[in-house]
Symmetry: C2
Subunit: 245 residues, 2 copies
Amino acid sequence: MTAPPAIILSHTQMGENIGAAARAMKNFGLSELVLIAPRCDWPNDRAQMLASGSGDILERARVCATAAEAVAPYELVLATTARDRDVLKEIHTPEAAARRLRAAAGAGGRTAILFGGERAGLDNDEMSLADAVITIPTAEFWSLNLGQAVLLLAYEWLRSADATPAVRTRATIARPATRAELVGLFGHLEAELDAAQYFFPPAKREAMVRNVRAMILKSRLTDQQVRTIRGMIVALVKNKYRGKK
Amino acid sequence: MTAPPAIILSHTQMGENIGAAARAMKNFGLSELVLIAPRCDWPNDRAQMLASGSGDILERARVCATAAEAVAPYELVLATTARDRDVLKEIHTPEAAARRLRAAAGAGGRTAILFGGERAGLDNDEMSLADAVITIPTAEFWSLNLGQAVLLLAYEWLRSADATPAVRTRATIARPATRAELVGLFGHLEAELDAAQYFFPPAKREAMVRNVRAMILKSRLTDQQVRTIRGMIVALVKNKYRGKK
């Protein structure tokens, strides 16, 4: 069993941020919340409101007086900092951090991610307890609020083991048309266009056909879509013939 | 110039979510916000509050009556949906979506990401205007709020071109110790440990030395750290000799 990392929030000032953190954790399968000396009331009504269904995480939150007490159970502790903090430790992207956490957790270790207070971040004592640092890349001069930072790290944790293919379509509706079905469509469409004297002048017919076929192939039709297009062709020419009679 | 995607929010009910979206956009370098028939007042005080410094994005937001009007300027429009929506389009992970957006933008195209309202998401008409779909992976049965979804897509946009190395250390402080410096440390430490008769029984000396050296090598010391450790050894043995005199 690969246990997700604990989220440790140090000296948090706003209950809203603790609630938003809990919701973000729940969204991505994390459940262990630790609070170091919260600067807001605890338990906290605003936290409950923002947690929106992840109240169980708030109820089970472990509250500690010191960072040393908070990080005691973990084998690997990564600390988040804003860009350009002068640290002596390795600095990880969120993605690399998630990989490292997952490797440690996969080997049976308990892990944690440490977040500082809203204003000043982590102090040097807290930083000294962490194995390494995570910095979230942002546009210049911008920084994330606490809830956003927890969200992105929780997302990266889930993503680091998510097996969803990068691009997919629903299997039930997505059988690509066979080449025979496409050739049938070409023949049908071109015969009706010939009948309608669409290809003009005749010397250009071959190039025009090539363009139409390329356009159809490029859209990578499913079998169902080929049938739909052929049905539309039938409907369009039926009206025309009726008009002529 | 690779233009970031526009963020299009359809029928948003809560000003807070528009403000959170603007802040998330600013954090990751996006700037073009489009609102389809917002269900809250517009302009909106709660949006301003949550935008926290990204008010310029709110002021420049384009407000449209219909989705067709909103998506008109873009060559590529990707629509976000919650998990398991029955769509006929390709479904992208956020990462794959960011790559596709960046490819289109790199070729000079304008692109957009479309988000539905808080309760019902995008309706079928809106979906039919999009080229493909993005689904954010979450833990089971959970869904993100609007601000969180915009944040994750904006983050993936920046990440798709972010060149930050996965793991780095500060160049100024991070010169790895040379092998000569490490061998110097080994010699210094082992000589003092010999003097202190630490290696006992003598038959085990070789194995013990090997273990100590492996431990030191594994921690991949910098030149500065080697000097620090040698300084500590000097300090420790100085006191001991003084005590004996």
